[in-house]
Symmetry: C2
Subunit: 226 residues, 2 copies
């Protein structure tokens, strides 16, 4: 089966989210054989970026996954595709109620949290001051704290992730953990009883997150040298 | 199986999208038995709206579907849930490439087209002037035209919908057809060779779309009388 697995996704800051997440799956699921892939990064916000992306992704957006002669060009569609192609990885929880909740919170992240995205933009390597906490931003952060608490409490007994074992929901929320770190957000001020902070630590402690950070550092060094 | 089917979703303008779409499934799929459901509408942007929604939907957003003791609280998660619960309806195309494309364009609508949503807000009953066409708005409309043409051309041979038979992708794009009607958008000016206009007509001609419109009219009459 491995010979027919997805290769390669295209990349940039966002694609790295997904590709590193796939790496997490690979590492945490080695007993299942993992999912090999190759990565192509495209620098965003350059004059040539749009054409470069369009050569791979008809939506003009990243990430996109090329696999088996087809292109899947949205993060959530990629996760559904991988879950469907690799039932052995259980990328969605097996329990129906847990699965419905996992899909709901994943879709909520997919289309929502606009204020959080704007006010706490993704700066993986930086450590920045906490931005002014507007009502909308507070609501976004509190909602994430509540999601992490609810999923961990109801469905997290089997492991350290939102639904116990690593799932697509963790792939959707892992980048948020880095935003909270970048902007030094004290989750206790947003209703956290410790569950959310502990989950964020779990995510950030994954070897693949360190690898992601190192990749970003290497890229910045290369740009400065170039 | 029918006895265990989803009831009831909660509603408002957005929830009506979904519930009417479910109605479309019901009508177009009567040979399969359809999916019965009950609808609860909640008026948005009222002082009591948020609390009313939160009684049903933990995200504070609509639509939400309650079924079998669980709550699915996002439109795309609802569509995945229904597809999974009702494989006989084939809410995603059976062909793998078509299904990956259907999920990609559905997810693209789920999180994208922000300019179109802002500049051509959903006004089901109104007929309004075409707004000024910014570059961003033109790009959104052109992209939808391209999606409709690509899906219809590559995968639409089996019927009048994006992937032939009615699918979840139509559920995601049906509301856009009403926006184009409301604002009198000439799709030919955005690269349409007639395929997109014809598809929009197909959607708008569905009896369930007329029913949706009539429901909105009845609600407005009730508000004026109230």
């Amino acid at each position: 089966m491995l010979a027919r697995l997805p290769t390669p996704p295209i990349g940039d800051e966002l694609a790295r989210d997904i590709s590193r997440i796939v790496a997490i799956w690979r590492e945490t699921r080695t007993k299942h054989g993992g999912i090999p892939f190759a990565e192509e990064r495209i620098r965003l916000r350059q004059p040539e970026s749009r054409d470069a992306i369009l050569r791979h992704s008809p939506s003009g957006k990243v990430p996109a996954l090329k696999a088996n002669g087809l292109v899947v060009f949205d993060s959530l569609a990629i996760l559904e595709y991988l879950a469907e192609r690799h039932p052995e990885l259980r990328l969605w929880p097996r329990d129906e109620e847990a699965r419905a909740l996992a899909r709901s919170v994943s879709a909520e992240m997919h289309s929502g949290f606009v204020t959080l995205r704007n006010d706490m933009s993704m700066e993986l390597l930086a450590r920045l001051p906490t931005p002014p906490i507007s009502d909308e931003l507070a609501r976004d952060i509190s909602r994430i704290v509540a999601i992490w608490r609810e999923t961990r409490t109801k469905h997290g007994a089997g492991g350290p992730f939102l639904f116990g074992a690593f799932s697509n929901a963790d792939a959707m929320y892992a980048p948020v953990a880095t935003r909270f770190r970048t902007y030094g957000v004290d989750l206790a001020a947003f209703g956290d009883d410790g569950t959310a902070a502990s989950y964020a630590e779990t995510i950030l402690a994954l070897p693949e997150m360190a690898e992601w950070t190192e990749g970003a550092e290497a890229e910045i060094r290369a740009r400065k040298a170039g």
